[in-house]
Symmetry: C2
Subunit: 244 residues, 2 copies
Amino acid sequence: MTRSSTETALALYLRRLSGRSPLGDEERAALLATPGFATLIDVERDFVRVGEPVHHACLIIHGLVARFAQTRNGDRGIVAIHIPGDMADLHSVVAPQVTWALHALTPTRILRIPHEALRELARRYPSIAAAFSRDCAVDASILAHWNANLGRKNALARIAHLFAEMHVRYQLIGERSGGFPFPITQVDLADAVGLTPVHLNRMLKRLADEGVAVKNPDSVRILDEQRLIRLGQFDPAYIQPGRR
Amino acid sequence: MTRSSTETALALYLRRLSGRSPLGDEERAALLATPGFATLIDVERDFVRVGEPVHHACLIIHGLVARFAQTRNGDRGIVAIHIPGDMADLHSVVAPQVTWALHALTPTRILRIPHEALRELARRYPSIAAAFSRDCAVDASILAHWNANLGRKNALARIAHLFAEMHVRYQLIGERSGGFPFPITQVDLADAVGLTPVHLNRMLKRLADEGVAVKNPDSVRILDEQRLIRLGQFDPAYIQPGRR
DNA sequence: CGCATATTTGATAGATTTCAATTTATGTGG
DNA sequence: CCACATAAATTGAAATCTATCAAATATGCG
């Protein structure tokens, strides 16, 4: 609700967008002036539900969010993880009948931005429209790579790939330490990489024992980035189109 | 190159778009008049490669196309399958440095449509721009559901889900028989569902033995649609937002 | 301190891969 | 139309990975 957190969140998002889509001063100013209201979401709460038409996109200010695909019988699976600076459901602007749920993995602060405001921005500034589209394209690209991971890599490689990806994504919003905040439970993490919590636990231990990376309750510390990248066969190109 | 096949392909695409995004007569006419040149792609050939900037989007006229995610070391995995009427890389209009390859699983005829023509259409007709965005959103939605499938379902359910999904998608372009054309090799199919060809083969046999569905060399025949849907826990909502 | 939740460990069952070989389809030239 | 070469599909047996089940230990929190 505070003005400052709104600005911070938009600035974070702007930074991410700018990395891929250069924007002029006018566009930057317009984006930063976008209206929205901040909301605090309790942990373990769905704040976007399947089937309900939505009229706002959710920009994550603080916390950690999971996107769940849901089958008719109620089974759910994490298909994406969102961090601060992510517009978690930009797609919903054009497809308001969302086909997935958004769920707070930790207490989370989001900025709800009216679809109409985003449409107006896109209408007025073609370069912002392009940046939005590109953001959706990157989202799709990440989903596609997760497909490849889940379908073809073993447990250790999947975890390594996820850690490597999250690391790069946190770097894009300014994280500079040898790791990244990751306050996710092992049960949820297991869900995200398509493993049993038990097996995930064992693989995490192995990752730590071998000096590659350590999962702490609230973060991941990367001990040997090169080995992590090799293990997960990670190539950051799909997150930053145009760079390598 | 022939005028007729160009028109057919665009009409097919228009039909798919219209199912989700009502378009006016003017928009429909403009879309059908989009320029493009048809090309015949040999089987097993990449016609879009990772890294190369592209300036055309590929509308599939006839045949079957796989989208491959590619890791740095050359490993590839099918992350999506495209059928006639699909614009396989609409994303590339805003992200010309593609992060996946397009590969012809069978001899395939595509229509290459200049990005510029698509941008012009979107510029002039906001409802077409929205339809394009929605098409991308559905693509992302399909990717997300595949994530859930690959991560959490067993071999049989994954195959059933894919068959159910392909069936619905073929119905959207007018297929009315109790099945759909699917001239894909078992090796490629195994790749798409993240299984070994050997295991896929066994599961296909089981699917047939139990009277659910039969994979023939060029098609899939669905024997018991209800059971197929139940097995794969398939919910078509994510392919047709707004309908159920 | 004590409860509730999260993590860790052990033992076993089950699904899937791997390796190796065989059969069946498909296409081509004579 | 047949013989051959090639690719695709199928089968079997063993190894491996991951899930499942059940219990113990840590950890955070009021």
